[in-house]
């Protein structure tokens, strides 16, 4: 009698455990402060609401290659993946990400505006659900740039007035645009010029003028560290990284918003998920990209919410208690002179220009 | 054969001490003179300091105290490679990456000898040890005995006057060992070199050497030619260590005319030759070789003291009989008798009387 009871209880437990195990999803992101902001703003409330356990995987940097490998192996283990827009487009092109219909699969704004309008231009790919607007911009050491702090991005190319090392990302994207801008090309002509071999040479020639003074970075954390160590006097990185150097670590660093390059980061759902997992992923996305949730993330990190309707809801930093709006790249004060990353262009020219860029670096 | 004039000594250890750790002396006050051309063996139990002495002589260890002289010159400050001493190691230490000929040629090369002269000497040395056909091989392609001969040839090829050998035959089987023993002594005598030889095999020591130095506890216990060592051990350690030996303990009663009367602990009286005892009342340990014990009364002098003995065990060993007796409280008293047609085979349990010549019984230190 007792034995049967125990057996029954065990079976029930096992079944329950199985059910719980199924209520899991793996979400891939960048790690660090960024993942933490997502945990606070999205994962925790979502788990509390639905009981789904969320497993974090900090693999976004290799997401495209890994998704392709998983897809080839026929075993996709990720449910939702955080990627930059360019990667989302690539995944979409490769058929590795699922297409999303914004109006039926994403939440409308509180006033009923459909999602496609709320996100607007930021829906740069059929597979991409935008989450934040971030910018790649420069920070400089206030104590190492003399009496006239830089106001223009061209200070980067001005060794005379701003001698010292500067850090740039070890890839052509953004650097080529800045070089052309500072070589006298009008903002709207930059990509037309960059399309031609002469234009590419022109950009490289401009970069050549500062080549000996450049420290090249490949991880987002490099420039903040280099600035903090006084290794460079200015350097490019993501605006959120600079925010934490300035406001959290209180380093003598200031932002040079001029010619900041806007880029997007957001979600994709891998193609080829089982129906059940797909539904769960869609449910999560619906929740995590609604107006309030996107605004909430800005409490933890200084990236702008991708929905127009979220902007008014951005409040104070959760720990520092400072107003976050002035630290957003999209704040009118910061966005006086901005530049939008051209996805189409780089999808076409990235490999070609990268080869030239690397050859130039190695010279 | 022992040398009394130390200035004629080729090798001389002068009050040499050695400590590895600064706490215990491994070699304690070693004095040793070796004349030119002598084959001297260092014999002793494991850990008694033989190798240490050899290494000090070769220059691989420095003496903590005292002088080592070679041909009248102190060599304390001469590095090993300038001492010109040939050496045969226990594991032969043939260089594995060189052929046999290259191994032999090595000491000549470092002496900057010309090529033709080198080849000539290598050939002669290899022929000397009957290894002429093996010059092109590597050490690993030789048998143990062959390697041993090559090691010997290598130690001799540069014609050192002094050759040191540290248990060179330790790894060989009995037959090969005996053959090599003969070859080494033969070679040494033919070439007239001085050899210091280390072994802990006493048969080897006795058969090969001109003199044997018995080591124990960092000291030389006795240094003497093999026969003297066997027949006239100077203390009970040497008596025990060299050959088989029976001991009985007792107290000296009186000493007169080169005879000591010893009362054993069992109360029996025996006659001995006093070696390490000088006055009555001293405790002593007497030593008698098994083959010198006699149980045929007719072969003993009529006034000899006899001891009662009980046969415990009889062992047939082919050429000899080995009989274990119980004598004066010692159950391990051994006698050996030749297997001759008229020889008696004692039976266990048999009661007999035994005795010996007083000169064969040595009263040593207790």
């Amino acid at each position: 009698m007792k034995f049967t009871k125990t057996l029954l209880a065990t079976t029930a437990l096992t079944v329950a455990a199985g059910a719980v195990a199924a209520q899991e999803m793996t979400i891939v992101s960048w790690g660090g402060a960024y993942s933490k902001s997502q945990l606070k703003a999205y994962h925790e409330p979502y788990s509390a609401k639905t009981g789904v356990t969320i497993i974090n995987d900090d693999s976004s940097a290799e997401a495209v290659a890994k998704l392709r490998a998983m897809n080839e192996a026929g075993n996709v283990t990720w449910d939702v993946v955080d990627v930059v827009a360019a990667d989302a487009m690539r995944l979409c092109d490769e058929g590795l990400a699922m297409e999303i219909d914004a109006d039926t699969q994403l939440a409308p704004a509180p006033d009923g505006t459909p999602a496609s309008e709320d996100f607007g231009d930021l829906l740069v790919s059929d597979c991409f659900i935008p989450q934040i607007v971030y910018s790649t911009t420069f920070g400089y050491r206030t104590d190492l740039v003399g009496d006239t702090p830089p106001t223009s991005v061209c200070a980067v190319f001005d060794l005379e007035n701003y001698p010292g090392k500067r850090s740039l990302e070890k890839r052509p994207i953004n650097n080529m645009e800045w070089a052309l801008l500072c070589d006298g090309v009008a903002k709207e002509d930059v990509y037309d010029v960059l399309e031609t071999p002469e234009g590419q040479d022109r950009a490289l020639a401009k970069l050549d003028t500062i080549k000996d003074s450049v420290v090249w970075w490949s991880a987002g954390a490099d420039t903040p560290q280099l600035l903090a160590d006084g290794e460079v006097i200015m350097g490019s990185t993501y605006n959120g990284r600079l925010f934490s150097v300035i406001e959290e670590q209180k380093q003598p660093v200031a932002m040079l918003w001029d010619a900041q390059v806007f880029d997007l980061d957001g979600w994709i759902i891998p193609a080829g998920l089982s129906e059940e997992r797909k539904q769960r992923a869609l449910d999560y996305i619906y929740f995590a990209t609604d107006t309030q949730r996107l605004a909430d993330q800005a409490k933890y990190i200084s990236y702008g919410p991708a929905r127009a309707s979220s902007a008014p809801l951005v409040g104070k930093h959760e720990e520092l208690g400072i107003d976050m709006a002035p630290h957003m790249p999209t704040d009118p004060n910061n966005a006086k002179n901005t530049f939008l990353y051209n996805y189409e262009f780089w999808a076409d020219y990235r490999d070609d220009i990268d080869a030239k860029f690397q050859a130039w670096l190695a010279k | 054969m022992a040398l009394d004039n130390s200035r004629d000594a080729f090798v001389q250890f002068n009050r040499v001490q050695k400590s590895y750790d600064g706490e215990t002396l491994v070699v304690k006050d070693l004095n040793l003179d070796i004349p030119k051309g002598e084959f001297l063996t260092m014999l002793g139990p494991s850990g008694s300091g033989k190798t240490t002495c050899l290494m000090m002589l070769a220059g691989f260890e420095t003496a903590t105290h005292g002088d080592i002289m070679l041909d009248g010159v102190s060599i304390n400050n001469i590095p090993p490679h300038k001492r010109g001493i040939g050496m045969v190691f226990q594991n032969y230490a043939l260089f594995p990456h060189m052929t046999i000929a290259e191994n032999l040629s090595f000491p000549l090369e470092v002496r900057k000898m010309g090529k033709s002269e080198r080849e000539e000497k290598v050939k002669r040395a290899l022929d000397m040890v009957e290894m002429g056909a093996f010059g092109g091989r590597r050490p690993a392609q030789l048998s143990g005995g062959q390697q041993q001969r090559v090691a010997l040839a290598r130690a001799l090829v540069f014609e050192p006057e002094l050759v040191l050998m540290d248990e060179p035959l330790g790894a060989l089987d009995k037959q090969l060992r005996e053959k090599m023993q003969f070859e080494i002594t033969d070679l040494a005598h033919r070439l007239g070199i001085t050899v210091v030889y280390v072994t802990h095999d006493q048969t080897e020591a006795l058969t090969m050497s001109d003199r044997v130095a018995v080591f124990n506890d960092g000291r030389i216990q006795q240094i003497a030619p093999p026969d003297a060592l066997y027949e006239e051990p100077e203390n009970s350690f040497v008596a025990q260590f060299i050959g088989e030996n029976n001991t009985l303990e007792g107290v000296v009663k009186e000493i007169s005319n080169g005879r000591a009367l010893v009362q054993l602990d069992s109360g029996d009286l025996i006659d001995c030759k006093p070696i390490n005892v000088s006055e009555p009342g001293q405790r002593t340990r007497v030593s008698i070789r098994p083959e010198r014990v006699e149980f045929h009364k007719d072969r003993l002098s009529p006034d000899a003291h006899l001891l009662k003995a009980t046969v415990k065990e009889f062992i047939y060993m082919g050429d000899i009989f080995r009989t274990r007796l119980s004598v004066a409280g010692n159950d391990d008293f051994i006698i050996k008798s030749r297997n001759a047609p008229d020889q008696v085979r004692l039976q266990p349990g048999q009661e007999i009387e035994i005795g010996w010549l007083a000169d064969d019984c040595r009263a040593l230190d207790a």
Binding site: G95, K165, A347, D352 | H81, F95, F106
Partner: protein, 423 residues
């Protein structure tokens, strides 16, 4: 003659010819041995042989164009790409038919990406054209030639069609050509434009720097291994822990530590400035260049050199050195003629280990190598994870593998591979 017959007639106890019987018993032994290593064999097969095989395959595999545009490829066969004229209507029709199916299957962007590796602009050309072409009907909307050129003028450029034709072979040497700074064109293999040539340079640099790193490891590791092998056990163990210490921290941490040491405001420069050896405005450039890479990688790979050296040296009895000295050799001669030759197998094993590890490193060069200290592996990593040009990455990897094998072969010729020992 008689000998031979006698040999053939040898019969084992059970009446079988001796040779056969021997072979049989050996066979059984071999089978048993094989069973023992079977798990290992399967493991190696799955984790090593198979991936390498698939890499080699990927470096020549190119079926995507044929699979996605089958009719176009056939139609293009009759077109002379060197004529400078556009292909005829048949090709356009075939292409539109293929393309409509490809868009339905969402394969048009993949082929766009594939061809974009060869010529920039193909990616967006295919993506853009799909939006229009998918609304067409292959029968009713013909002819397509002008329509397609209307969609994008690039369709009116013979070069576009030439690219498709050139890369329509099922197995291509294109990736390998790319890997050595060349390209597959309609006129055959041609050099890349000079301002895109980088890979050969990186290959040479990688091999050169790996050799330097191996050399540094030998120079620094040999004395350490020697001391280790000659110390009493207790102290040797202590020292061994110090040697192995780097293994206890992650590669990233170690490399970052070098950054802190070597950078301009780093520990070494600060110390030198403090000592007055260099002036504050002339700090040494010892990171973000080849020096940084060599320093950090030598440190990281040193244990791989020391360990095999140490285990070989441990087996060299001290009596060899003593024997040499007793034979009249000075310390140096004894070392050089007797000890060193016997330690060569350890140097060989360590060098092979270090060299092969070094040649494939990319994290450390990426972090401390700046622009002139990066390796070919950094490019492989880029093509694996960023450009997704896995065919090129595979070709680069295959060449790297070939370089290693060639060097291994050279080593075997010069030193002899049986002269390698791990202990």
């Amino acid at each position: 003659m008689t000998d031979q017959t006698a040999g053939q007639d040898m019969i084992a106890a059970d009446g079988m010819p001796l040779k056969k019987s021997l072979a049989k018993s050996l066979q059984r032994e071999k089978m048993r041995a094989l069973m023992l290593i079977a798990p290992l064999l399967i493991f190696v097969l799955i984790t090593f042989i198979f991936p390498i095989g698939s890499m080699l395959f990927r470096s020549v595999e190119n079926s995507i164009v044929q699979d996605t545009l089958p009719k176009t490829v056939v139609a293009l066969q009759d077109w002379d790409e060197l004529s400078g004229e556009l292909p005829d209507e048949a090709v356009f029709t075939a292409f539109v038919e293929d393309f409509i199916i490809a868009v339905e299957n969402k394969e048009h962007t993949r082929i766009g990406s594939r061809l974009n590796y060869e010529v920039s602009g193909m990616s967006s050309l295919f993506r853009k054209s799909a939006r229009k072409v998918k609304k067409w009907d292959p029968v009713q909307d013909a002819p397509f030639r002008d329509k397609l050129i209307d969609v994008d003028k690039d369709w009116g450029d013979p070069a576009t069609w030439s690219i498709i034709k050139t890369h329509s072979v099922k197995y291509t040497n294109g990736y390998f050509l790319n890997a050595i700074d060349m390209q597959r064109t309609a006129e055959g293999a041609q050099a890349q434009p000079e301002d895109k040539q980088i890979l050969i340079k990186l290959f040479i640099r990688t091999v050169k720097m790996s050799l330097i790193i191996t050399g540094m490891c030998i120079l620094l590791g040999y004395p350490v291994a020697w001391i280790l092998a000659n110390l009493p056990n207790r102290s040797a163990n202590m020292l061994m822990i110090l040697v192995l210490l780097p293994f206890w921290t992650s590669l990233l941490v170690r490399t970052s530590a070098w950054k802190v040491m070597l950078q301009n405001q780093g520990v070494i420069n600060d110390t030198l400035v403090w000592l007055g050896l260099v002036s504050n405005d002339a700090r040494l450039e010892i990171i973000n260049n080849q020096f940084g890479t060599i320093t950090a990688m030598t440190h990281i790979l040193l244990p791989f050199m020391i360990l095999p050296m140490y285990s070989v040296m441990q087996t060299i009895p001290p009596s060899y050195l003593r024997a040499a000295k007793s034979l009249g050799a000075t310390n140096w001669t004894a070392f050089w003629r007797v000890y060193f030759p016997q330690s060569i197998p350890g140097i060989g094993a360590g060098s092979i280990l270090v060299f092969i590890l070094a040649i494939g490193y990319y994290i450390t060069p990426e972090i401390v190598g700046g622009t002139d200290g990066v390796f070919i592996s950094n490019r492989i990593a880029y093509h694996i994870s960023s450009s997704l040009n896995w065919g090129l990455a595979a070709a680069l990897g295959a060449i790297l593998l070939a370089v290693v094998l060639v060097l291994y072969w050279a080593y075997d010729k010069i030193v002899g591979i049986d002269n390698v020992k791990l202990g």
